[in-house]
């Protein structure tokens, strides 16, 4: 039995386990305390003082770091507290650029919302010197604008504590304090993995994705270009949030319709690429096991994870699957198989990927991911950027009918759609590897042991008469932990799935931004994953190798998984990267 304590907040009595903070206790009592630097489980440092409460102590206390005690009497809403919070916001505004009209986070900004809710009347209440910062937009994925930064440190916490990377941090002190990379270096000069978790942690517009929508608009307007689009599995699980639909709503059909309305010449599906990835990856795993290849084999779909491995754990490069990621595979097939079939010059094709991910922008620019001097994928936009395009085009998303993907590379199985959730690639690979190895039908396709949002999951799967040890992890912080245990010999696996973002792609750095208040009560990873597992259940086919278009591409073009042509077009290699640029 947990040690329970009782306290009174604004006259409401509430019972909570000892160790609970006053902020959490208030939430349990149905009392909302405004926060700004707080991000549940990630940044609980009492820095911004927005959440102050009156406990009768000499000074107001930050409730996010104040442990509740038995018999405590707390007030959260007094004239003094309201004035305190308002002044605090005015002080934050005195060092903020306040260019809300053109800010990418306008209407989705925690600072803006607090100012409105707490009745800040004068944005210029305190006038003084303002620091002016150059915008860091050298990274292909992430833009940092310190003129909007409020020094909450949420990005710093997620980068160092969750991802185990720490390429940004507070430098200097007092008025000169800024969140920066050391020695004034650009983010791109650091060993940043481009995951974009800092963006989704940012309460304001100080961090955002590199916007590539202009490139897409230009391609769509060019009559000489044949523009092919493909959305990733996780996009359909979150895009609806941008249009006010509840979290976890699957919008696959509306998304396909929206892409057609935007004017793309072909709307293919990265889910097809995911099925293709499974064909190649399961084959690679089976071959590695049969031929004494390097094990554990580790998945290669997540570009944040790949760059993390290349930079921080280069000794595991031989363990990485040589498979390109699903959208790169689709891109490669569009510019060869599809181009050939349709008689289109591949140089005139523009492949646009819609991804839940900012690291995909970096990945698409890798010189090795192409063929005959043409990149597999030309432009990557995030879920947020697609939503922006849909709004800009004046499309009423919620009123769209459900559309379909175009054939040739539009069909997919349930195995592909779950790629977007942590454990999904593992489960999909197991479904196919099982049938390849045993030549029998897998009746129970659900591998529950690899589902869920725990950082590290382990399972032993019986395939024929062998037990195969597998592990699944998400967040690079967890990957480091897992790889350390493999390196030390403590753990022994045949196959590992790693996703750079906690919970997998559904919670990727390019997904719709969920504010801290919501994140405190809803597990974004769980809700969005539900949409994907729901789609998996409803799919008539749930194993990648049963996909008719996959069968056709091997019959008509690739021959068989791991064939010479497959290796040329669907596989890649990796390189060790330095921790610091010279």
């Amino acid at each position: 039995m947990e040690n329970m304590i009782t306290l009174t907040i604004d006259g409401v009595s509430v019972e909570v386990p000892a160790g609970t903070t006053v902020l959490e206790a208030a939430r349990k009592a149905g009392i909302h305390i405004p926060t700004l630097c707080y991000l549940k489980d990630i940044n609980e440092i009492g820095a911004c003082r927005m959440c102050v409460v009156d406990t009768g102590a000499r000074a107001l206390q930050a409730s996010c770091v104040l442990p509740a005690t038995n018999g405590m009497v707390v007030k959260t809403n007094t004239p003094k507290i309201r004035q305190y919070r308002k002044t605090l916001l005015e002080l934050v505004l005195s060092a903020h650029d306040k260019k809300c009209l053109s800010c990418v986070r306008s209407t989705n900004c925690e600072l803006q919302r607090l100012c409105r809710e707490l009745g800040v009347e004068d944005g210029d209440a305190f006038k003084g010197v303002q620091n002016e910062y150059a915008i860091d937009d050298v990274s292909p994925s992430i833009v940092r604008d310190n003129n909007k930064c409020i020094l909450c440190r949420r990005c710093v916490a997620v980068c160092s504590k969750v991802q185990g990377i720490g390429v940004i941090g507070p430098v200097m002190r007092g008025f000169k304090t800024a969140i920066e990379s050391p020695w004034g270096l650009k983010l791109n000069d650091m060993a940043c993995i481009n995951c974009g978790q800092c963006i989704t942690a940012c309460p304001v517009g100080a961090l955002h994705e590199k916007d590539d929508t202009a490139k897409v608009w230009a391609a769509l307007a060019d009559p000489d270009k044949h523009v092919v689009v493909q959305p990733a599995p996780a996009v359909r699980a979150a895009l609806g949030e941008e249009f006010g639909l509840p979290m976890g709503t699957s919008v696959t059909g509306k998304m396909a319709s929206a892409l057609k309305r935007l004017g793309f010449d072909k709307v293919f599906d990265t889910d097809f690429g995911a099925d293709l990835t499974i064909m190649e990856e399961a084959n690679e795993l089976v071959e590695r096991i049969a031929n004494g290849g390097v094990l554990p084999m580790i998945t290669s779909c997540s570009p944040g994870w790949i760059k993390f491995c290349e930079t921080y754990y280069p000794d595991f490069i031989p363990n990485l699957s040589s498979c390109k990621s699903p959208h790169e595979m689709t891109g490669a097939m569009v510019k060869t198989y599809y181009a050939e079939k349709m008689g289109i010059d591949p140089a005139k094709i523009v492949v646009v990927s819609v991804m839940p991910c900012t690291a995909k922008k970096f990945e698409a620019a890798r010189p090795e991911l192409g063929h005959n001097g043409l990149a597999d994928v030309d432009v990557v936009i995030t879920t947020r950027e697609l939503a922006r395009m849909i709004r800009e085009a004046g499309i009423n998303f919620n009123a769209l009918p459900d559309g379909d993907f175009d054939s040739l590379m539009g069909e997919s199985t349930g195995a592909a759609v779950i790629f977007g959730a942590t454990g999904g690639v593992m489960e999909a690979a197991l479904r196919t590897a099982y049938e390849t190895l045993t030549k029998t039908t897998l009746e129970k396709v659900d591998f529950h042991a690899v589902r869920g949002v725990q950082g590290i999951k382990e399972a032993t799967v019986r395939i024929g008469d062998t037990d195969v040890n597998v592990a699944v992890c998400s967040s690079t912080g967890m990957a480091a932990k897992l790889l350390d245990s493999v390196r030390s010999g403590e753990k022994n696996y045949a196959f590992i799935e790693v996703m750079a973002c906690p919970g997998g792609c559904v919670n990727g750095g390019g997904q719709p931004i969920v504010d801290a208040d919501t994140r405190a009560v809803v597990d974004v990873r769980v809700e969005r994953a539900k949409a994907l597992y729901g789609e998996d259940l409803e799919k008539p086919l749930r194993k990648s190798h049963e996909n008719a278009e996959i069968k056709a591409i091997y019959r008509d073009f690739l021959d068989k998984p791991g064939s010479h042509l497959a290796h040329e077009l669907l596989h890649t290699h990796y390189e060790k990267r330095p921790l610091y640029k010279d």
Binding site: V167, G169, P170, P182, W183
Partner: protein, 156 residues
């Protein structure tokens, strides 16, 4: 072994000795500052790697505390008190004169590496205002016209 290599070896020993302490970064940075006279980029990288912390953290701490310097300081550190008493007694004009004579701005080091000029808060010798110190030497009741003569002594 060159003098520099010796210093690096010593730094590695210091890191090794502090490695498992909680909060090891501060004492290691202090020792490095003492050893090298500053904590430049390569030294910070060695510390980060050795202690298993990020360079961001090392750099963050090094730039937070005034006791750490990122660039080498001069042989002589000139500190001019800008505390209330000294300021009222005209220490700003002393500082300006120094800056002019040394051809170096406040907070930086002369090109020959001889002097670092800095402004400080109250030194606690208000009775001697305006006060300036050069390393351990204290100069009270300073006037701008004394500056060239004093500097000459250290240039010899």
């Amino acid at each position: 072994m060159s003098e520099m290599d010796q210093k690096y070896a010593e730094l590695r020993q210091i890191i090794e000795a502090h490695k498992d302490w909680p909060g090891a970064l501060m004492p290691v940075l202090q020792a490095a500052q003492e050893l090298f006279g500053c904590v430049p980029e390569d030294v910070q990288k060695i510390i980060a790697e050795g202690l298993g912390v990020t360079l961001s953290e090392v750099y963050g701490v090094a730039t937070f505390y005034a006791q750490f310097s990122l660039r080498p300081k001069g042989k002589y550190i000139i500190s001019v008190c800008l505390g209330t008493a000294c300021y009222v007694k005209g220490s700003q004009s002393v500082l300006d004169k120094l800056s002019e004579e040394l051809k170096c701005s406040v907070g930086s080091t002369t090109d020959d590496g001889l002097f670092t000029l800095q402004a400080t808060r109250c030194l606690g010798a208000c009775g001697l205002a305006p006060v300036m110190t050069i390393n351990q030497d204290v100069y009270g009741r300073m006037t701008p016209d004394q500056v060239p003569g004093i500097l000459a002594k250290y240039r010899e």
